[in-house]
Symmetry: D2
Subunit: 351 residues, 4 copies
């Protein structure tokens, strides 16, 4: 058996191809041995490709780890199949657009780990691997800003006038589950992963793509989250940022604030022109977080090979989906949604 | 009669003293002739001072304009007394912490102006006079960002551990009425002053000053506002910013964004130290908006002397107070508050 | 005699008109009573205007102070005439393009002050009144950066394709005397006004306006200055900045650096557009330093009225011109120019 | 023979170890097979280590490329030995502190390439591989700033009070050859690699480490370079930056300016504290340019394997050393040094 982690990638779409590259060439301790779809064939000559996910699992006898980067709708199913075989799994976010299905993956893992005690399963919240977010978290954890109390985060995608997002919305789970899931995960990371939600409220509009309403989605939405214990969070997600990808986060503490990417930039260049000073920003999420994805691949690999704790908790991903779904529901119904301290919904009639 | 506008200032507290200075020395076309309280005596030797507001109005026969900068609780009453005498009035914000009382000032003005057709009455929303906000508004109005659709604004005061804000909260109307009133006014300015609110929701905490709860107030609060016509706004107000005053605003349009003060600074200095690069920010609201207050004094004066339209509409101030009060109510009750298109509250039972 | 300083402005060109406005309307303790040229007549109805400078001095019996803002070629002559009458003088920079003539103004002042011991004469180095430069100087003087050792400063004017600067160069003294004089003055201010120059060297080009060579001038030039005592300075002056006026300065000390305006901006607005994030910068020197000029007017006035020390030393202006002329000479001859510790030129043959 | 480039690293000091890591784990198409010194043994278990450079060359039969990262004094000698064996060479900068010795490496390459026509030899000017410098160069080459005319660049190392730099100066060639060599290379890259120097002048001080004078060195130095064809450059190099590594560059063109890293930062985090807003910057050159070094390793590898043109010209490195040495000489002698258009020194007596 090789010293390198033997990895397969499922779903060679845009993100799958990126994961494949990271594991094939930028993760020294991993080896990409198989991939679910043909798209990989041209680029990775030594990688075996499959049209069927289960077939791949069955035939790749040395396989140790699977990266699930297929459509969100099959994340959970594919993850569970790999989990049941004792494979390590890195599942793209979100695990599912349903809290219950997300939980079923955690349940499968909890069962499987009894049999495969060294098994690692994580959901790829890439921002957790970003150097700036980590620096900010370290400072916060170090007490540099006092008690973190207010959280603001936004995920603004570049305007894509092609209509892509309308078709995409049919299965994405909605803008809060698809985009804000990262911000929600960060809120849990900065406030503490055991933070309990008291209420969520959301509002939204379709400023550029009214057809999103067909799928109960919006192109711009605002949400607020109340946590038990005196912490609050503010979210903004959008599909219409003109300048590019603009993802920024601020954590306000009782003694200071830490801000991440509130002055976005593509690189260190400023152009002085007759119209002023201009800088560009990344055009998409990958442009902003490429390094984080590579770190994710390397740390996941190290955790599998060295049997060290995984870099993030799987159950936290279920909480993020649960909050995202509640925000999405509030966005559509116009109702505030409340929870008791055990995490159960409080019925409106009892309010 | 002098060529200079004859001005009196009522309520020489911190802001009153500043207004007095602006009109006395930095408004070439105005002359400060009287002031309500003794504090002015030392500084302005030629200004007559009074202990009683009505006495001042009665005795100053050449008086043309009054700046009301007293405690918020008497703003409306003092403004109305001046209005009924046909005097021009610049009233500090908010007119009142009550929408009804605020409206009574508008009503008084509407009556008075029939008798004094050149009379000017404005509420001093100083940010409207700030060069950066004006530049942003001009760009927006020029279509540079497409249709303005999402508004984000925050007013964060420097942490004052003295307990001042607890005592202050008894009469301030609450953090949304006191702080966010500026952000609300900006939302109306950028979205259109006739914008109609559909709903407001707010949440908040007392992270540093739990005693604020005695006065139904919070030290950090988040609010979201839904307008009819597909526009939404996000507010954050706080009394605990460590670094100083941080007031910033962003308007997201369908084709661009304009951001004001998202990289706050005291001046153009950066200090490179062993711990990194550091810059300071203004320590209070006045440090950020001093120039705007001076512009306000000059433009109000010009409007009075030249009988030109006042730089902002008075009725808009009532709408801002109404929205601020609804947010404050939501903050305390935990309920979302909804309005129909005529501006009437929709009862919860009918939702 | 009025309580307000009675001021006249000589030379109502672009800068003269600005000075006139500052003293007429933005300097509460001053009163503009006279002006040399007709241009002022329309704007300042109560100001007496003259076509002849000496006539103005002769007829204005209550005159106390003169602002000399005429062409550089007559600065010294006009200043001396006012000095000899015992008037306070604020002379625009440079006093002269000749060190000897500049010195003659200092000499006249030194003679006159024996007769008029309260007389104030300053040369208007406006950056000394700028809030950011003052903040930087205060930090430096406070020891925050250790011993200031290296100085970098640049004055870059916006590209003016009209050919204005070619005609202007005939009398300007050259780009080092006209533009860099401010940077040189700052070097003296930050390194100590008694700093002694050891050598200067300069190089330059005509990148956009080759006709400048007719007047022995360049449109871009670099200079380095060596001071006795282990301090060095680097200058860049240019007439071709596309984006606007870009004047920045850095002082590197043994324990830190203070940087002024290294991130230039017109105001606090950033515009997010499909091409990136853009901000504008001031289009000219006045756009950057308007507030400093107003402070200059007020502090000069206060110094005259209260008989307090003037805000800057007159002899320092002669040193700045001397250094500027040496740099300009080096720029044209290609020779390094050296000085002994007494300030005398060291002949090349003796090197 | 392996599909991967077989690489050895000579001189496993600080930079050597970094190169070893880049080729061992971050350059997918390369394989690190040997290293000159023992330090590598612990970290790279499969890499053969040698105490003698020539022995390594002799014994490693499959070796294809050598990275020379030893002390500057042996760069040229080691490079030539590898060149003569037909090996590809990536030599750390500078090739030598002597222009003549640097030229001898180029000569050896020119001879060798007749025998080994696919051989690649480059000098590692890492900034050429930096994404921001490349973006800036692309914009410049695209005409976005008009004709590049004025160049400003600085390399400021973090203050190291240990005395390291004094010992280091004995062999470094001096601050212009050691630090500014990067800036000089950039000037050649942006102005055109065939640019001819007309003159150089330099001045400097020892602000923090007077012992540097023992080795004819300084801790802060300013230089200006005049090129034939109307282009000028300004350099600043320093060993006393408090905040960390600050390397920035600006290219001023006739129609715009491109600025690289004029707002230095460690990452995207800003910390809001009671003393203001603070960000950190990289503490050393590697912190700023790590990604560039990795790109360098990958592009050098690709050039060797695919026989494509090397990413930069070797002769350019000799020109950079020549200019650096002239600046260093001027720094010490105080003389301006001039060259005719053929590149020959113009004797002072003939000036």
């Amino acid at each position: 058996m090789s010293e390198k982690l033997q990895v397969a990638v499922a779903g060679i779409g845009r993100m799958g191809m990126r994961h494949a590259r990271h594991f094939a060439t930028l993760t020294p301790r991993a080896e990409l041995i198989a991939a679910e779809l043909d798209a990989a064939k041209k680029e990775f000559v030594n990688v075996r490709t499959y049209k069927d996910y289960e077939q791949m699992l069955a035939q790749e006898k040395t396989l140790q780890a699977v990266v699930v980067a297929s459509a969100t709708t099959v994340h959970a199913e594919q993850a569970i199949k790999a989990i049941e075989r004792g494979l390590h799994v890195l599942c793209e976010k979100p695990i599912s657009t349903s809290p219950e299905i997300s939980q079923s993956v955690v349940d499968a893992y909890n069962t499987s780990i009894k049999k495969f005690p060294n098994q690692k399963v994580i959901c790829g919240f890439s921002r957790r691997f970003d150097a700036s977010y980590r620096d900010a978290h370290r400072r916060m954890a170090n007490g540099d800003i006092g008690t973190p109390s207010v959280f603001r985060s936004q995920t603004c995608d570049k305007l894509d006038p092609s209509g892509f997002f309308v078709a995409y919305a049919e299965f994405s789970g909605g803008i809060f589950v698809d985009c804000s899931i990262h911000d929600i995960d960060l809120a849990l990371w900065f406030f503490g992963e055991n933070s309990k939600v008291k209420s969520v409220t959301a509002i939204g509009i379709t400023a550029v793509q009214p057809d999103l309403r067909k799928h109960n989605d919006r192109d711009n939405a605002l949400g607020i989250i109340e946590f038990y214990g005196g912490k609050i969070a503010q979210l903004y997600c959008s599909r219409m940022m003109a300048a590019g990808q603009e993802d920024c986060t601020e954590i306000f503490g009782t003694n200071g604030k830490v801000a991440i990417n509130t002055q976005p930039q593509l690189n260190l260049v400023n152009l002085y022109e007759p119209t002023g000073i201009r800088r560009e920003i990344p055009s998409d999420y990958y442009g902003r977080f490429r390094e984080a994805f590579i770190t994710e691949a390397n740390e996941f690999t190290a955790s599998c090979l060295d049997n060290t704790p995984p870099p993030l908790r799987l159950d936290s991903a279920v909480r993020a989906v649960t909050i995202g779904c509640a925000l999405q529901e509030s966005l559509i119904t116009g109702k505030k949604i409340e929870f008791d301290e055990s995490g159960k919904r409080v019925e409106a009639s009892k309010l």
